[in-house]
Symmetry: D2
Subunit: 217 residues, 4 copies
């Protein structure tokens, strides 16, 4: 059994909760309040920047040309997505350019940044994997449920399920499996934990957006 | 005006909230439920380990002997404190050796670890300063309020106000001021923000303990 | 005066020595022994991989979208150049895929990698600048001296003076100037030193290739 | 066979060359020219500072209390040794406070700093091991050869063979073996390579001192 298959099985309960959480249900059927969607977009823009930095940092820790280039390319892709958000939705909704991260967003971004700087590189690689894989699976799921053109979030949902992102997700999973295949049992276990934690942080990211989470002080 | 004076003024509103938050009030008058104190101790042990790692990482980014040694010494002090917790309170309360961090604890530890790895070193230095300075000020405040020996948390409160920790706090503030004095206005502003964020995370750490915060998924 | 102008003035003596050193003179007039050129190519391939890693690491330490993307893009460019070397010259000369770095190459790559991980980011940025700027200036100089098609290194020299690389060099210099403009005098001085050291290491890289430098033990 | 036994066997040829190289022979019999000894001391002071930074950085990447503390303690020890050099020998010989590293010194320090920041932590740990183990073995060897009190370098040689340093060396080897025991074959092989490279750099450090190595530009 590939590491990625074990990892997916391991986070299946959290993934199921992500599919049924209010944010994604209401995004899917078009009833999500607009201010929650806007809150989410702004946090996503902040997230993508830090995700890009993390991917670059992991690229710097790789030791062969293919891996260095793959992660530098992922980083460029993340920053490109962040820019697109700013240029399209941010303009459309009149959002400020600078975004303050919510506690859940800051928890997620600092978790992956820390893994990229301190953990062994195999573990760092799978800490960023949920943002590829879980995100993609959720996007595909929501996309498949669409049956009319009336959903105000249609444009966003279409983007979710793009071909380019699909190729990146596939490559990221393949790299994780390749690294896991060379890792010993202890490292593989750490990889499962990091993948699970980041999946949990994906849930919290959506939940935080739905709650429009604020700092208490 | 020293940077540290501006920084303190800037976080004064959060500091005031920390003094009056239920956890510290009840710790001070001895009415804090024991299970909340135990929750706090376990999180503190986890925190101290990561705080130690962060201090070591900052030591590695310093460029003169005095600074490298100061932060390596701070790290040793933090780990020594963590060990003391395990050897005294953990044994007394029958706690498990391994601690799972709460969301607020993980947010705080990953914030400081990330600053130590990615930010310019002046900023990293002040991201760890609240855990010295705020903690010390709160400890002194609670210690000063004690008027009898009946507080079940007396032993903990006495430790709060130790001389050795006081010397470390003073040194950490002096280093921050020294670095700020050589920094330009933009860096000084970033230093204020990092000090404020870490102070906010101190508040969340105590609040999380009082709530006995759990992961939602 | 821009920081980059001061920096160039400061390394002018080393740059002049680079132009007149045997490796570049003989490359320019076509008399460079083939085995020295091959030694150089192999070291260059090793260097480019580590240069790419360094650029990615710097990207991870940036704080705005434009900078993160610029350095991730530089990294991709470096790895792409490394791959081109392998696919064209390595095949042509029957070189082994894996290259052992010479002492000078290892000194240069570890110097820039260390700066990217430990120094403040302004300093890291200029530690990689000579590999853009000095290299480009030397390439242009040699290209301008060509007056016939008989030089066996023509294809290499033509590549040296490409438009794409020119754009990257210009962007890297502009970023350095932008960061220097916001830095205080002490940081600007450290930036000059790092730029000078990396220029010196450029000289040593070419010298090491000409000597076909070996490890003594 | 313990990893450390394989590692020692693997570097035995380089170790033998270190014992017989002129610097150590002449140090041992007291004929080493004083200016070479002074050159060495100054480089050693520079090295120790960077060695201390590296040990701190490794401490920051550890994941349990014992390891974090061990490496922070090693760092403190290295900086303490550096300070002793300055306070005794630097004063005695009227050396400048600031030392410029030679190429070999800079190669060694940047190699270990880079490993601490980018490599998996098991590899970083053994990249710093030769400075403990090889240095200790050479010191003991030279100490054992002393048969009179006329050697002008007696005080230095005595320090070489101290009990405190011996305990640190033993602990560093034990940690390396502990980490290697949990590593897979590929990682163990990388550990051998890093240990060998750092041993080679030990040789170059002594050789550079004997040559009173200068920068060519």
């Amino acid at each position: 059994m590939k590491w990625s298959e074990r990892a997916w099985e391991n986070v299946k309960p959290i993934y199921d909760k992500i599919l049924t959480m209010p944010f994604n249900q209401e995004l899917s059927n078009g009833t999500l309040p607009k201010e929650k969607f806007i809150f989410y977009l702004a946090q996503d823009a902040y997230y993508l920047l830090e995700f890009g930095r993390t991917l670059s940092a992991i690229s710097g820790r790789m030791q062969n040309a293919e891996m260095i280039m793959a992660f530098a390319g992922f980083s460029t892709g993340a920053i490109f997505a962040e820019r697109s958000l700013h240029e399209s939705y941010f303009a459309e909704f009149g959002l400020a350019n600078q975004v303050q991260p919510s506690p859940s967003t800051l928890l997620y971004t600092n978790y992956i940044l820390s893994q990229a700087a301190y953990a062994n590189v195999e573990v760092a690689v799978v800490a960023v994997l949920p943002c590829f894989w879980i995100y993609k699976a959720v996007g595909d799921h929501i996309f498949a449920q669409q049956d009319n053109d009336q959903n105000p979030y249609k444009r966003w949902i279409d983007m979710y399920a793009g071909i380019e992102f699909a190729a990146a997700v596939e490559k990221a999973i393949a790299i994780a499996d390749q690294m896991a295949a060379q890792a010993n049992a202890e490292t593989q276990a750490k990889m499962l934990l990091a993948f699970e934690m980041a999946t949990r942080l994906e849930w919290m990211f959506w939940d935080g957006a739905y709650q429009m989470e604020k700092w208490k002080v």
